[in-house]
Symmetry: C2
Subunit: 285 residues, 2 copies
């Protein structure tokens, strides 16, 4: 057991929670998983775990303390819930005035506030990438397909646009075709944005040739990577392929990948490039 | 007949072409309409008109000269066509190298290039709002519903975001809810962006209460209003109502309205505010 005790992993949906748990255990760390009901969808049977839910902050805090956890990781998809779906315990109710304040702001605000609340309760918030660095996107070309000069120009247009829009806290992804931003991600998320590009092609609203355009995804400047790390997976590759794109560029070290081998296999099969951008001067730290 | 001869009005889709023609004639100007096949959908029978099509620049230039037109207005919806749908005449073919250059850039680039081509051919490009100022959105509250203090705060968040994103040539509209940009318009246009917000509510991806949020629409900084004036109409009001918004704010003098009476009637019926923003320091000119 390390100084931090077992690592508490608050688990949302998708493959990342078990990828992080596996990597942390491989690094010699004991772990306790806290899957969040309604979101977590992996098979936790083989792991020490305690189910929790949005609104049960008292129960969660108690379980983490009882098991000696001092450090906590948040990982996986947890969408902002409908208020009517949330049952509150007393500890959460005490926090409600602050939570309502958070819900008025953008995502950055919401997430960094959750981090502050966790730290005030005596836990150290750590990033998934800190306990499981092998899930970080590497720099350069990942699969068999190389981006062309024109495609790298589109990537730079997207990187610039995301750097400009970052402080507005709108979204972390966009699609560029022939130097023009044709879709910008906000509340809909990356998957629905890619579905929109596919639809705009179908209805003739986007007339550029197939196999044209890039998805660019960067963490927002100042984004707390311990709470809201952009991710990349097979579903993104499939969405990009359906949108008729040529490839995907994400920030190296700034995006997490649950299964690198599976990602490369899917990208190669679809003929898409996957590229890790080295953070540039002026890009998000 | 004025010094400019009859006014040539190149007519795309929607109600604006006849609104502009009516207003120009009311101001004593003779007009000739050039509806564009595949886009123009009004009833031109009562007006002097000559049908034209994308790709027939030689025919259009000849007809405008023959009728003594020296000034030309572009008005109405003309989406970027699929190349395979365009039949070219020789004059257009001679321009193809420049047109291909335009198609690589953003909309601003495309449109300002069309304007330059028209002016090189000896025509003066005038804005619909110059010959028909009564179609311009006025400042302040337009209908019966007043925006609240919170809603005006959302409007300011949207105005700021559009001012920041303007130089990126992405789009001219967005939706703000409780100070957070939840949708940003790009190639899809305003109507499809509003449909997206309605859908994100339906699937629970946006959980804010109904009757919350504003559509904000401004011309982009440096946008050539003679070619690409943002417009507002009943369809926008209906889309905003379906998206569960509280209202619409557009730049006074920077957005055109085909039928002000019909717009106010629709907004009042839906309980939405419609507000004309006075251009602020730092906002688009």
């Amino acid at each position: 057991m390390t100084a931090g005790g077992p690592l508490a992993i608050i688990c949302g949906g998708g493959a990342f929670p078990l990828a992080v748990a596996t990597a942390a255990r491989r690094a010699g760390r004991e772990v306790v998983l806290f899957p969040v009901r309604g979101f977590a969808d992996a098979d936790f049977a083989a792991w020490p775990h305690v189910w929790t839910r949005i609104g049960s902050f008292g129960q969660l805090r108690g379980e983490m303390k009882r098991r000696g956890c001092r450090e906590v990781v948040f990982i996986g998809n947890v969408l902002r819930p409908r208020l009517r779906d949330v049952r509150f315990d007393w500890a959460t109710l005490m926090l409600l005035p602050r939570i309502f304040g958070m819900l008025r702001g953008g995502d950055d605000h919401l997430l960094s506030s959750i981090g502050r609340i966790a730290e005030e309760a005596g836990f150290r918030l750590v990033g998934a990438h800190e306990v499981a660095p092998e899930i970080l996107m590497p720099a350069g070309q990942l699969g068999a397909v190389a981006p062309s000069r024109d495609e790298l120009d589109d990537v730079e247009v997207g990187r610039h646009a995301l750097t400009v829009t970052g402080p507005l806290d709108i979204g972390q992804g966009l699609v560029v075709m022939q130097r023009h931003v044709v879709a910008m991600e906000a509340a809909e998320g990356t998957d629905l944005m890619l579905a929109r590009v596919a639809e705009l092609r179908r209805i003739g609203r986007i007339t550029r040739p197939a196999r044209c355009g890039v998805l660019v995804k960067l963490p927002k400047r100042g984004q707390d990577l311990r709470l809201d790390m952009p991710s990349l997976g097979v579903r993104t590759v499939e969405g990009a392929a359906k949108a008729g794109l040529a490839g995907i560029a994400v920030e190296a070290g700034g995006v997490i990948v649950a299964d690198m081998v599976e990602l490369v296999r899917a990208a190669d099969a679809a003929g898409l490039f996957v590229y890790g951008l080295s953070p540039a001067a002026g890009a998000p730290e």
